[in-house]
Amino acid sequence: MGRENFHRILDETQQDTLRLGSLVEEATAKAVDALMRSDVKLAEEIIEADDIVDDLCVRVETNCLNLLALQQPMASDLRTIAAMLDIIIDLERIGDHACDIAQITKNLASEPQLKPFIDIPRMAAAAREMLRESLDAFAQHDAGIAHNVPAKDDEVDRLYRAVFKELIEFMAKDPRAINRGSNLILVALYLERIADHATNICERVVYMVEGVPKNLKRSVVEINQAIAHAESMQARSHGESAAS
């Protein structure tokens, strides 16, 4: 494989990753839309469209492995390939969660709405924004964009706790609301997970661009120290149990 060919395939693989990103962005948007309007037909379309998500993941993964095996990529190309292998996993999970939300739309179709949706659409908007920015960061190899995303996760978590509490109270007051309430808690959970996956993607992008390892909040030195500390704690507790 010539150098030119390598870069062509590397570029195409990144484009495939963005295609995958576009598909799951759309699946998420449609899933929430279908839920709001109780649109069973749209929900079914989302579930059917998941096959192509899986196919694209396989293609990206195969290309990445070929690139690694057949040509020893240099530092930044290596990080790009490694990042993509992780990112497609997050994207594939996001696609799955969108399908899960669509499935819930189908399950709840026959029941009337509990109360006007307020916090769930807010969570959806926040999660979608985080996903969009994480993919923008990847497309533009821009760590600056990626750094701004994790902070928004706090808001999503806060909304999730609020939705959870509110729905529990609803269900406690009226047992007939239990089926709907618990399914909506799942929807909120899936949206919270989508936001987490978007944060993961950002971490990979930062790694890809800056060469900094996964956890955005700590440096390499701090991580090594933490591991050393944990290992010594483990050794000590083993030593104690052996002595007694």
Binding site: E25, E26, A29, P116, I118
Partner: protein
Amino acid sequence: MPLFDVFRSQKRPDPEQQVRISDPALALVERFDALVDALPVGVIVVGEDGRVTVFNPAACEIFGVPRERALGRALIESVRSFELDRRLSNALRQGVEQTAELTYNAGVEHKLEVTTRPLRGGEAPREAVAVVHDITRVRELEAIRRDFVSNVSHELRTPLTSVKIMIETLQGGVHRKAQAQFLADIARETDRMIALVQDLLGLAKLESAAPLSPFEHVDLSEVLREVVATQALRAKQLKIDLALATPDEPVLIDGDRARLVQVFVNLLDNALRVVPAGGHIGLSVNREPDHAVVTVFDDGPGIPSSALAHIFERFYVVDRSRARAATGTGLGLAIVKHIVESHGGTVTAESELGAGTTFRCRFRALESIAPTRAI
């Protein structure tokens, strides 16, 4: 490499590609570029390798992408739409020509009509073009029109049905006393329909942007007194307490008196529809250093915060079940906003569910003509 790109490379001389071309040809390329840039529709051209060679300002606007980011790269890197990418790929590799709608979301959702087709190449390298019309507003207006027609038919059907039934009953023969009651009801329903038609005419005037009558000095206190007087009996019948507070001196602004009357009639009318018996409506006129402020307060059910952002939009109706006599095309507040803003003023609404609503109209005040101190 497509011909135009060769020509363009002459503008930024590239040592590898020294092709001598004539000035007229270069001028042609520049003219073509200027033409494409001037088009109000998005134009995107991709080459055989899938890279973008043309991305005009309209496309930049629609997709929210700066031109430098799009040119020379695969389209999916800047415009993240799987569907658009797929259609261009079909055009490029299979010569498929297609026009279809597409939804694109980069923060704000856009509805687009996209035509994708191969550019005639023959021997030349293949290219495909996407022409993108932003039809978001068109679809929005269609939805608004559908809602409006449906609203109006519903509003007219109800009183017309009542009237028909009453007329048929009268035709069947009834007591004189009952006759009087039926006729009164028919008169009331007819008034309802007239009010609706007047709202519609008001809308027509708004849309034709008819200029207001020439401005004159208007005393807001006097206008409010007139408006309150016309609605006093209705308020009394509804057992709603109606109060007006005005300062002693006139509060003058430049304005169209009849239109200003309409503003406060609409606001007071809205309040009278939703405040329950025993409730209160308070109107006041106040003078601030440079402004005159009219406040309309009611302790009715209030407006949910999700609706508050939309109440001044045309045809927006908060909730049909709230209003007493549920007529409402959703135009009253849109008319209020239009007139107040035509006077260079602002109108705002604050509300708390269960507590009430306050509307504030703020106008630029004229210096008071009447003396404020005894000489």
